[in-house]
Amino acid sequence: MTNDLARWQFATTSIYHFIFVPVTIGLAFLVAILQTAWYRNDKPEYRRLARFFGTLLIINVAVGVVTGLVQEFEFGMNWSAYSRFVGDVFGAPLAMEGLAAFFLESTFLGLWLFGWDRLPKGVHLACIWLVAIGSMLSAMFILAANSWMQHPVGYVLNSHGQPELNSISALFTNPTFLWGYVHVILASLVTGSLVMLAVSAWYLRKQREVELFRNSARLSVIVLLPVIVLQLFVGNKLGEIETKYQPMKIAAAEAQWENCKPCSFSAFQIGGGKNDKTPSQIIEIPHLLSVLATGEFNGAVEGLNQLQTEYEHKYGPGNYVPDVFIQYWSMRLMAYLGSLILLLALWGAWLLHRGALERSRWFLGISMWAVITPFIMNTAGWLLTENGRQPWIVQGLMKTVNANSPSVTSTDIWISLIAFVLIYIALGAADLVLMLHYARKGLDRDVGDVGGAGGEATLPAMSY
């Protein structure tokens, strides 16, 4: 019970945190590009766009940062047995994240926000790039830590049977990390560009500020197309890596109960979960699963039943099959929505090519609503990867059921879970109110560089 509650809390807070993270990473990068354009061509519309999307960025960063605090504290608060057991390895990338990435991101965010009229143009531009780089570095360290839970490397078991770090480079060359990290960065760029596209589409449909928002719409489509193409490739590659190191995860995602060779891909099915292993309805595509999971036309995939027998043999009795329903549908949600986004990006690119992007009401209307899809895909991705790791908290080393804090009672967790949910609802509501308000409010008239730098300190930009 306590363990389940701790899991619910961690899942809730992580999924929530990751609503804001990809927006931050993606938008910081795009704002940096807009500001670079302004730096190079000196056209005021790019400065206005950078400030406009910068405001949306800040609204999200605020919630992203504070919900990240919760994540860091939660390991010790809720998962003390885990922290005690793996801190030697797992703690290092987290501490590095703070030192090498989060300091960078936070300090230069302050400099960027308040430095518009105080710093030289080039230095100020460097600040937003350092924010963008800091946020990407931050994700790198977190993913290195997370990937270690999926596929532990670079450690030896000491005399107490605890993992001890013996190769830091192994953590950062872990194949699960390399592909997983690229996957997350691309997902963030997809998210950022779809947010930018949706806001731009809204203005273009209303025929407001068309001269400005055609630029940001173009930028978002130009970023989105190559990124989504790469993402479909990288996501597939990550699936192959996971088939190798966490076969249960992928077998469950395919609801593949028995060994197969060649393997058909189930495009849609009803049933086939835990209690009814034979689906009642299924649409299959021959050979596709073999290709996706192994890269070979006739590749073999191990079934859940065979894996279960193997794991029992290796790790003792227990259930080693993750929840098939969650695995199967999170995989499909991601893949299908990703494909739809690819179509949207192709459509957008074609319209751009014809110079008709800002006039296509259909495209603009769909783009506005497409902003929901990256959040669904991101959540599905984490469900797939974390649920697919179960029953392990660290694959093969420690089970989730043994990882929670012995001294924390279920009453404690009920209190914190309810508190977090209430706080997160309030923060989410405030964030949404501001996002809609600022996204629709339009751009400030650019007043130019009144005040200017130097001299006596004026109120550093009335941000407060």
Partner: protein, 346 residues
């Protein structure tokens, strides 16, 4: 030769000291901003004094937490799980004030602003108080069994010494915030900060003296205060007295030293323990039995030696860029367009 586990204890102590010195004035400003600012414009000025910096300052806490996880996993595990409900409140406070600082002026709506101003105020009061309790409890001792698990409940966290430490650090943060506001503002805001600094100064002196005496009792044995404890008392007296003068910089420096010496004294007293067990001294967590292996510590040390100086340089530069006293707000309290262009549309 200095052992790496001891070195990491020192690094973590420095991070906690740095956090309270830097974020300490942010807490103070957050807690006092509605008192030093009567009009909306004045309150904006007060909060603007920490605007570019508070976010970077808060990272000191994050690195202290993550550094504890990496260097002393057992300490992190026992401490954070023991403080469960207290840390929940800390997180609630940090979330409330972190978001408030970004959101307060983002809507022109009196109720919106009032709600976030209170979130900022309460969050800024709650966090240093509770973190102080958590630090004091390390030295005071908590019920911890032979497998390093906390065996008490929330009430056991509220030890006399822990609470006194919490109130002392809160008092010092308020004084530190007042000396900071005195340093960075002018006109009515500065005058009110000076007026507040007087009672805050007396309170802080009383708290620090009590804290030093109580630390002597908790630490046991030696009745003679350590040099760092004497420094804390002298510095807080200086800070309180200098607020009445025009030596704004020295007053602020003194309150910074007072806070640093007070936080530092806890760690000096604690060593070589990291967390005392009130159940049995044999169950104490120490720098030796709670530390990570030598390889992990070596890696972390190298990373710190490379990155920490760089962090200090760019954080220092950020302080340099936004140095100087803020002007009094214009007579028009609500004239967003009248001032310099907003950091992305304030």
């Amino acid at each position: 030769m200095l052992h790496l586990d001891t070195l990491w204890f020192v690094i973590l102590a420095i991070l906690w000291v740095g956090f309270f010195v830097l974020e300490g004035f942010d807490f103070g400003v957050g807690a006092l901003h509605m008192l030093v600012g009567k009009t909306e414009a004045e309150r904006r000025v007060a909060v603007s004094t920490i605007g570019p910096w508070w976010d970077g300052n808060e990272v000191w806490l994050i690195v202290a937490g993550a550094g504890t996880f990496a260097a002393f996993p057992a300490w992190y595990a026992t401490w954070f799980s023991a403080l469960y409900l207290a840390l929940l409140l800390v997180l609630a406070g940090l979330m409330a004030r972190g978001v408030a600082l970004e959101y307060i002026t983002k809507r022109d709506d009196e109720r919106w602003r009032r709600a976030w101003r209170w979130a900022l105020t309460i969050g800024s009061l709650l966090v240093p108080l509770l973190l102080g309790v958590g630090l004091g409890d390390l030295l005071n001792g908590l019920p911890i069994n032979s497998s390093h698990e906390f065996t008490g409940n929330f009430a056991d966290l509220l030890t006399g010494y822990g609470l006194w430490t919490g109130v002392t650090l809160l008092g010092l943060c308020l004084l530190h915030g007042a000396t900071f506001l005195k340093l960075r503002t002018s006109g009515a805001v500065r005058e009110r900060a000076v007026a507040l600094a007087r009672p805050l100064g007396w309170a802080a002196i009383a708290l620090v003296v009590g804290f030093v005496i109580w630390t002597r009792i908790v630490a046991g044995g030696n009745d003679v205060p350590e040099p760092v404890e004497i420094l804390a008392i002298i510095a807080v007296i200086f800070a309180a007295r200098l607020t009445a003068t025009d030596h704004d910089g020295w007053a602020f420096t003194s309150s910074a030293i007072a806070i640093a010496a007070s936080v530092g004294s806890i760690f000096i007293q604690l060593y070589p323990n990291v967390m005392v067990s009130s159940t049995n001294a044999a169950y104490n967590l120490t720098v030796h039995n709670a530390a990570s292996g030598p390889y992990a510590l070596k890696v972390m040390t190298i990373v710190t030696v490379i990155f920490f100086p760089i962090v200090l340089i760019y954080q220092g530069w950020s302080f340099h860029v936004f140095r100087g006293r803020l002007k009094e707000p214009a007579a028009e309290p609500e004239a967003p367009g009248a001032v310099a262009p907003a950091a992305p549309q304030a």
